[in-house]
Symmetry: C2
């Protein structure tokens, strides 16, 4: 039996945002591996083994998945959102590079998904409708100085921004530091969108000017979108629309 490994994006939460390609891979899998809440999104069935792992174990999870595929299993590693955006795909290829040569001959496919920033943007309008960047604010994996340098250069480049993992219990002050960097470069009226748990029953979306933004507006389940200098807010009854025009005048 020939094994394979798929790294699949489950999207931000709602099943109507899972691509048919991912659904088909899950139907053919012998093993599903991932962080506990993502594995639990996959329905149990006869012939399927579900491996639930903790959040901080990406590399051991990746090696386990590759070893199973090398043994002939049909393995799906599940990520939320898109597996290539701050998720499991990079961990798999790190493990491939450091692993035995035979892992380079495995059948490995990454199946893309709807990443959190695009789901969040869709719920408020089109804030990422022009050039933008995505920055992971977690300093578990990189120096905080690099993060603030990227934030500053991104603001100087006038990108709209998506900030992933803005805040965690382990580092509550970091997002306040990020807001300070933004305030040094951007005007006080710059719109920020705090999009929490998009497409789930806990969804909450809130728009605030940079001058009014506070660290408590974000938590572990929030993605923060920052407009560019051109981003517009359309007032109406209820939550406003926020969009960034496609064009920049000469």
């Amino acid at each position: 039996m020939t094994g394979w490994l798929v790294i699949a994006g489950l999207g931000p939460g709602d099943d109507s945002l899972v691509t048919p390609q991912v659904t088909q891979a899950l139907a053919q899998a012998s093993d599903v591996i991932g962080y506990i809440p993502y594995v639990r999104r996959v329905a149990d069935r006869p012939g399927l083994t579900r491996h639930e792992t903790d959040n901080r174990e990406e590399i051991s999870r990746a090696r386990h998945a590759l070893a199973l595929a090398a043994q002939g299993h049909r393995v799906v590693v599940v990520s939320s959102g898109d597996p290539g955006v701050f998720a499991m795909a990079a961990a798999i290829f790190e493990a491939v590079e450091d692993g035995p040569q035979e892992w380079r001959r495995l059948d490995i496919q990454v199946l893309p998904g709807v990443t959190a920033m695009l789901a969040a943007a869709a719920r408020i309008g089109a804030p990422l409708g022009h050039d933008f960047c995505a920055i992971n604010l977690s300093d578990n994996m990189k120096p905080w100085d690099l993060i603030t340098r990227r934030l500053r250069l991104a603001a100087e480049a006038d990108f709209a921004m998506a900030l992933y993992n803005p805040r965690s219990n382990a580092r509550p002050a970091r997002f306040a530091d990020a807001l300070t960097v933004l305030r040094q470069v951007c005007a006080p009226a710059r719109p920020l969108i705090f999009a929490r748990a998009v497409s789930t029953p806990d969804e909450n979306i809130h728009v605030a000017a940079l001058s009014d933004a506070t660290p408590e507006m974000a938590d572990m389940r929030t993605v923060v979108l920052v407009g560019s200098s051109a981003t517009r807010v359309i007032q109406r009854d209820g939550t406003p629309y926020v969009y960034t025009p496609r064009s920049v005048p000469e």
Copy 2:
């Protein structure tokens, strides 16, 4: 009868990458509007009017869609990829802001999709696995000086990059200029991925070092991914894997 307007992303080309949410909206629509090749991806059926428009007519297309929804039609505006990334969602909200007040009370939903850069990244590994940016190289809508300034700052910030619309017949020299900017900041070995028509029968993916990249490697159907300084190439039989590690050492 109450009308509504959906702006839907059809993904990069293959139907297995269209979300069930989008498929459901199309099944309920009375009118589908968009650029000719995207409208033709939607099967004809009784009760559905398909409006095919030319590529350069985004704002008139947006106004037409809004006017139909205001008259009670169930309208889906189709984009390729994700409608919020260099596509129709921003045009719709530009038209809403400039249009009659009643358009602000319409039922408007943006349905996200798999954008080209994420589909391309998935086919080669995980080149966008760390902080990254997306830049539209078309200077139809913005000054070329702004584009080169963003490219330079993005390279200084050491983002991986996705370059949309790298080259067109109307401006064949621009992508050569972009490569020149990248060469001023990035090392010659920096990997570039030329991903053409991902997930279609015309798909072609090619990896080249920055020193070997030529403008002819890109065309109108290509998205170009540029690695960061940390991006790795894993050699193997056939096309290599390219990924950007999740972590940056202190």
